[in-house]
Symmetry: D2
Subunit: 132 residues, 4 copies
């Protein structure tokens, strides 16, 4: 189902995509799985509807950023630009909330039920970043 | 209505103020001007260095959003995605702070010196949006 | 063990009350329990150390707010007051993060293990409020 | 009008209150003035109505913090406590916005009109702190 391939990501992230065959909790929809023996990237398979909803949000946000760039290019007034940036921030926040809720309802819940306490520590660390 | 004159601004900005007649972008450097006869869009001409710096930041942010989209496409783990989104939020915040500082140092300061109190009200309204 | 009944709580939250055995705070360390016989309030017994740490943080924050009030009373400069308020906001955020982490590690984890999915929905709703 | 007195503030701030006699922009309502020869504390005289409104907001916030402390003392449920803390954060944010707007409308505007550019730099620094 998933071919092993290495994709070099932006920001110096090495993205390793791999088959999760034997992985605990894997092979199923909305499961969490660890990376393969390369070991450095985790994946989570989302159902089509969720994935599509996330992609749609991101495409819209990307369009909004391009829109801001066009505004700067066009020498638009600072206040109008800043107002649009604040709309992007709200949109990213909406994306975060949706993905975070799915994460808690699937990955975290599943890990807790399986007695994997690390998921809880990881969530708390993540929330510290998100609640600046 | 507005005479062409040169004002040397803070932080090495050459502020050239000029008649905004011809529109759009009003032909002058870093002035603030109301919309043209179409009337619905305000412009501010920024010096090349500032404009380039803003464009560079925005291109980087656009790349980051595309990176998130690739992560979702690639079924990457929620926590890794959310961590990257939080980096974008920090980058947008940095963009906001830079543009806002320039706005206050040029547009708002100039308007206050000219007795245009609306600029102050507008700034306060903007800050309410930015300080959610 | 738990009888379901509905009590309308503060802030229009529907609280489902159930018997917690010994009450109040249900006798166990760091457990979550529904309200006592008064019926409209949920409790959670925290261990002494955690409770003391939370109280200490709050006393300090209360002192900081009083300090701000003294500054206003004393006609102190706006920027100095605002800087102190931003310190309080950081302190409240720290309090939130600590309490939230404990909540997830105890209440939410426990509820998930017991198959109580409402705890997860409640957490997601809470995070939406905290991640404005 | 103002007696010299020393108040030892929280967080190791030495608060020196003093007559602003010769100060530029002083002696008037809603002016900004530098500290006296002790030099380390700035004051701003606010009109009675503004001062009272700020004090009222702060008293209410102080009461809210005490309320949270009572909730922790009473072993109240985490989510209910966190919801109340989020209300305090909104109230502090409201206080900030009000004080900041007054600051810009009086101190900053006045300083700009008097050619004091430091006020602008100071405002930009402050906004960086407030727009975390």
């Amino acid at each position: 189902m998933m071919n092993d391939k290495i994709i070099s990501g932006k920001n110096n992230i090495q993205i390793t995509k791999s088959e999760c065959g034997g992985q605990k909790g894997c092979g199923a929809m909305t499961c969490c799985c660890k990376g393969n023996e390369d070991g450095n990237v985790k994946h989570k398979q989302r159902d089509e509807q969720e994935k599509k909803a996330l992609m749609t949000r991101l495409s819209r946000i990307e369009g909004q950023v391009r829109g801001i760039r066009a505004m700067v290019e066009d020498d638009r007034y600072c206040v109008d630009i800043l107002t649009q940036v604040s709309a992007i921030q709200a949109a990213l926040n909406g994306f975060n909330k949706e993905l975070l809720a799915r994460h808690i309802k699937t990955c975290v819940s599943e890990d807790i039920r399986e007695g994997n306490e690390e998921a809880v520590d990881e969530l708390c660390e993540l929330l510290k970043k998100l609640m600046k």
